[in-house]
Symmetry: C2
Subunit: 323 residues, 2 copies
Amino acid sequence: MTASRALRGDRDVSAASRERVIKAAEDIGYFGNHLAASLSSARSDLIGVIVPSLTNIVFPQVMSGVTDGLLGTGFQPAFGVTDYDQDREYELVGRMLSWRPAGMIITGLEQSEKTRRLLLEANIPIVQIMDTDGVAIDSVVGFSHQTAGSEMAEALVSAGRSRFGYIGCNLESDVRANKRKQGFADALSRHDYAITASLFCAGLSSVGDGRRLTQELLMQSPDLDCIYYSNDDVAFGGLCYCLEARVDVPARVALAGFNGLSLLQGFPGLIATSTTRRRDIGRASAEIIIESLQNPQQTKGRQLTMQPAVELGALQKTCSPSD
Amino acid sequence: MTASRALRGDRDVSAASRERVIKAAEDIGYFGNHLAASLSSARSDLIGVIVPSLTNIVFPQVMSGVTDGLLGTGFQPAFGVTDYDQDREYELVGRMLSWRPAGMIITGLEQSEKTRRLLLEANIPIVQIMDTDGVAIDSVVGFSHQTAGSEMAEALVSAGRSRFGYIGCNLESDVRANKRKQGFADALSRHDYAITASLFCAGLSSVGDGRRLTQELLMQSPDLDCIYYSNDDVAFGGLCYCLEARVDVPARVALAGFNGLSLLQGFPGLIATSTTRRRDIGRASAEIIIESLQNPQQTKGRQLTMQPAVELGALQKTCSPSD
DNA sequence: GTGAAAGCGCTAACAT
DNA sequence: ATGTTAGCGCTTTCAC
């Protein structure tokens, strides 16, 4: 009937009817039923967004970016969390698709074959985010973690460092942290250097673990002049230990993390990092979905790289401690 | 037909048919349509979850808790973010309800009157979380921020502090931080003390702001022996400043935050805090929704308080700096 | 500009 | 244990 048109803001409704309908709707406290609408029109205004974890601030920021990018478009994000578990991811993707979302944003390129098939067959725009090292399903917004790792290594070598340690958390599940480590090690070996000592912890990264592992690593390898961490949280924990133990950072040992978290502003410049544009990646992925929806042909398989910038901070000004 | 029953795991289907159906479904890559299912059965397996922000780790942790609590129940969380904006909240609640969720979890007790009406009329279990200072719509899981503030004040007074400063971020929108401050000030005044110096910053709380504001506050009021912060992020920034400026914490000045973030493990015990059980609150709220769904009568209007524990850390052992 | 008819893909209730 | 019928609340298409 006319009511349906009026409420959806269809033109071809007289101003008089429109007003009457809207008035009536308010009076009875009516609000539509998206289920019926989407079922009938065979499309919904949901954009599925899948992230691996909510344990540090990185993915929440990506989600904020997506929300921003969707604001005012009439589309709505629907968030899901996999906890870095591929089976859970498959399950979640299936559930999301069964809501017939208009598009999907999913973290990483390493979905299981089953999941990839689901996504492909859904026949909606898919954007994989946060990584570009691999084979895409459709569009991609992110950067190469491998490159990020090697760029950090190059920068640290240029700053005169030569005895490298590594500390990582959650490497069993965090594919991207592994890629960074790989890129880091590869770049070092091109300079005939290597990671000579490393420590790992299972489970999620945390400041506390970084602190503990750094103490341990420096005990067993006191000659290290640089430690690369799987991310900023762990690196920051390392810095806390060093400050308390009066280990001079970065003069005696340089610490390098990853992400460029605002947390680092606690001690500006003391930790080298690669600043990732997390909100921008979220926003851009939302925009690509919207464009694809408006222009299905031209926007297939776009690739957008936002490589993080290496920031050395105070390290820039120091020389090798052996000088 | 039988297929529908088989796929939903209805009993009253012969093992033979069930297998044939499931086999066939896999062959053609069939997966159901939640839209149609929910429309038909007039209920969905979604639980709407509304949080104010994703800018620090607190609400992501609540969301993880909800996800945990829902795991294996067949219900699924659907997350929404309001950015501390009541109009956005109203909009979001409306949109969520139009998906006919089975229940709603929403942060805080300060919804607008319109939003409250929407929620009431939805006739589904509602759980408001994170706060108990106010009037509930249905069930509540959280704690009194007012009490949390006064308990911290009491603890600090007992620890011998007497000259109090306050630093807060985002107080324009963060109702709960305001309640803590109020409770803190009220408790102080019962001891004839008061907050004698404060600084605020607009916008979201961050470590960097805490650092900057603490420097400023200690410059203009060098005699303070205690600073209460709106939360741990800001407090931690303050600690970073003090460590760098060699201000003795907690001997000369005690710092107190709120939340018990794992970040504090960078310098264990140096910041007093109230440890909130964020995951537990998320999990419990999910459980209450599930119970209400199974047992509509008995579970109306439950109230669950999980008051945070004050942790003084190193401050416990110090005496007033004037001793 | 408005209305009537059909149907989206399921589930519920009732046969059989 | 399986099939049949009707209908959830919309949108679409086509008349008027």
